[in-house]
């Protein structure tokens, strides 16, 4: 299928700021393919982001775009969605933005089950500020602020989302572009708060500190560690050691927040 990328890229806004080999561009193209597949209307689609490399994505896409403060995308988006429940609201950002400084907003957006889709590009690092460790940086790995190896345990972002009450949680990678398209489409179609964690790469600030010789090696690693949930069902715990599950990890139908609030309005207006 041919996708109309030009329709969705803002004229004059490329080239993007991302480094050669960064996976954010792959994610952006996946997002555009999803928008194109779903025939979204630009004026009724909003992309809201926080701060960081991944959060620069909305600037390149031609729709209603809101580049907010660090970690706050989910909270800004919650206000926008409540004011305009008919809009499609997409959140995007990185692992540090979403799960450290924005962790509180993230879990509460999950809990409310407000109808938005959160694309978290997890490249295991704060890239824009030069490679400091994030809540997703694996223990023992190097970052500019963990010169002796990271002592912190890390978050499993998808599990965090499930635990906090998100009603659609998926994980993909920047390597598996075709699978990613499907996951993003399904996430956007889901009524409720959907999260797609995308394992991504940052060759510049993470790869070179952690003995990845090339972008290809980083991409190959994403390929090697990924196991689709279906395939994992047939694998032993030993075989799953060091692997990461991909695909739709969790899905349920639950009352959506804006619809719930519409009922509050109905109750308040009874007898009025």
């Amino acid at each position: 299928m041919a996708y109309d990328y030009d329709k969705w890229i803002r004229p004059g806004k490329l080239p993007h700021i991302w480094c050669p080999g960064c996976g954010h561009g792959i994610v952006m193209k996946g997002l555009i393919r999803a928008f194109d597949t779903l025939q979204l209307k630009k004026e009724e689609t909003a992309i809201v982001s926080g701060i960081g490399c991944a959060s620069r994505l909305p600037g390149y896409i031609d729709c209603c775009t809101l580049h907010t403060t660090h970690g706050r995308a989910a909270a800004f988006a919650t206000g926008l969605k409540m004011a305009r429940p008919e809009m499609k609201v997409i959140l995007c950002g990185g692992d540090g933005d979403g799960t450290a400084i924005g962790g509180n907003h993230f879990i509460h957006a999950c809990r409310r089950n407000i109808d938005m889709t959160y694309i978290i590009m997890n490249n295991y690092i704060y890239g824009m500020t030069g490679g400091q460790f994030s809540p997703a940086t694996p223990t023992g790995h190097k970052a500019s602020t963990t010169p002796y190896g990271n002592p912190d345990p890390n978050f499993d972002i998808a599990k965090l989302a499930i635990g906090a009450g998100a009603t659609f949680v998926a994980r993909g990678t920047a390597f598996h572009a075709a699978q990613l398209d499907k996951l993003i489409v399904e996430a956007i179609q889901h009524k409720g708060f959907s999260v797609v964690e995308i394992l991504d790469d940052c060759p510049t600030t993470y790869g070179r500190r952690n003995k990845f010789k090339s972008v290809i090696e980083m991409m190959n690693r994403l390929k090697e560690i990924s196991v689709p949930v279906k395939a994992a069902e047939k694998m032993t715990p030993e075989q799953l050691q060091g692997k990461v599950l991909t695909g739709v990890l969790y899905k349920e139908e639950k009352p959506e927040y804006c619809e719930q609030y519409a009922k509050v309005i109905e109750r308040a207006q009874v007898g009025k």
Partner: protein, 377 residues
């Protein structure tokens, strides 16, 4: 038909004032002593079809407010000291992205947790300089429950007219005291809404200065698409680091308030004409001051009261004018000289400015002001 009258609390009046002004979105977080604003909004807003959300924290409340305002809503939040500190991050965002919003900040003691149930007036500099960077500031400081209602309506009009955050800052006494309020009829107080774009979507730029210092603001979801960022931006909303554009935009953001001071400033003068001693006081302290001025006049002291109702922008020029024929100023305040410093800063040394400072959770009493007048006479 007789107007609706009620005996209500300051915080309730702020909420009702917001609804009168057409507020249709509230995001907040519980904090003493402002919580009644949120409680009334949670009850009243859905009746009008508006929406209330209690966010996970103060930062998120301010963020949701901006998101909703960009969706076209007229938005309110309420908070108090520690919450104001947290909200400053996104207040700065609203300043640079030029998003209308109204913040009720009930002043309690500080810094930090301070005295949550005690009155204070020590957030006044925070209202101007709390968020980092250069930015405009509008701050209103009503002194009665009726005025809190009316000034909240005005806060919305100013926020919408100038595309900027507006703070309304009653001290805890004004916020919690109860007085009779006469509710104005719809239309009785002017309500100004933001200017909608007059150009079609394909020509729209969110910071198009060909329309003046306050460009029209479209709403997301209304057929217009554009980009909003907290970075220094160009007229089309996209980020830039071009020196000339950044300089011009920063200057415009401040100028749109500074150049319209006459429209925004509001103050009251009481027995100023022949006054030798002028008390500069606002909020509940101005009520102690008025009591003291009356008592002083009875004792033959020529006292007057200058009461800012808009604290930012501060009515500097008028106070400078008054200072040329004033022997002494006194600034009673529930802070350690924040208002005193502002007065000193605008009267060019024309008269001494004495302070009476309370940060003990007690109001400045009329007696203290009267005694000070006798002392400096």
């Amino acid at each position: 038909m007789a107007k609706k009258v009620a005996f209500i609390q300051g915080n309730e009046a702020a909420a009702h004032g917001a609804i009168y002004a057409g507020c249709n979105f509230f995001a907040g977080y519980p904090i003493t002593p402002s919580t009644e604003v949120a409680e009334v909004m949670s009850l009243e807003l859905p009746k009008t079809g508006g929406k209330f959300i209690q966010m996970e924290d103060e930062i998120g409340a301010m963020a949701a407010l901006i998101g909703a305002s960009l969706g076209g809503a007229k938005v309110l939040t309420s908070t108090s000291g520690p919450g104001l500190s947290l909200k400053q991050e996104n207040i700065g965002y609203a300043c640079i992205a030029e998003v209308p919003c109204v913040i009720v900040n009930v002043m309690r003691g500080g810094p930090s947790t301070g005295m949550p149930t005690g009155p204070s007036q020590s957030d006044i500099m925070c209202a101007k300089w709390g968020t980092h960077g250069d930015h405009p500031a509008i701050c209103l400081v009503p002194a009665s429950v009726q005025e809190l209602f009316e000034e909240t309506v005005r806060a919305f009009s100013l926020a919408e007219k100038y595309r900027t955050p507006v703070m309304i800052m009653p001290d805890e006494i004004v916020a919690h005291m109860r007085e009779r309020v006469v509710f104005p009829e719809p239309g009785e107080i002017e309500v100004i809404n933001r200017t909608a774009p007059s150009v079609p979507p394909e020509q729209y730029k969110p910071y198009d200065t060909s329309f003046g210092d306050v460009p029209p603001l479209a709403a997301f979801g209304s057929g217009y698409k554009f980009h909003v960022t907290g970075l220094n931006k160009m007229q089309d909303g996209f980020p830039t680091t071009k020196a000339a554009i950044v300089q011009a935009e920063e200057e415009r953001q401040v100028r749109k308030v500074e150049a319209n001071k006459a429209d925004i400033m509001k103050w009251e003068e009481y027995l100023i004409d022949d006054a030798e001693i002028v008390i500069v006081a606002y909020g509940s302290t101005s009520r102690s001051a008025r009591y003291a001025v009356n008592a002083a006049r009875e004792q033959g002291i020529k006292a007057g009261l200058f009461r800012p109702i808009t604290f930012w922008p501060f009515p500097e020029e008028r106070l400078l004018e008054i200072s040329r024929k004033t022997k002494a100023f006194i600034t009673p305040e529930m802070s350690l000289g924040q208002c005193n410093g502002v007065v000193k800063g605008c009267i060019e040394g024309n008269a001494p400015v004495y302070g009476i400072y309370h940060v003990d959770g007690e109001p400045v009493s009329p007696d203290e002001i009267l005694n000070k007048m006798k002392e400096v006479k």
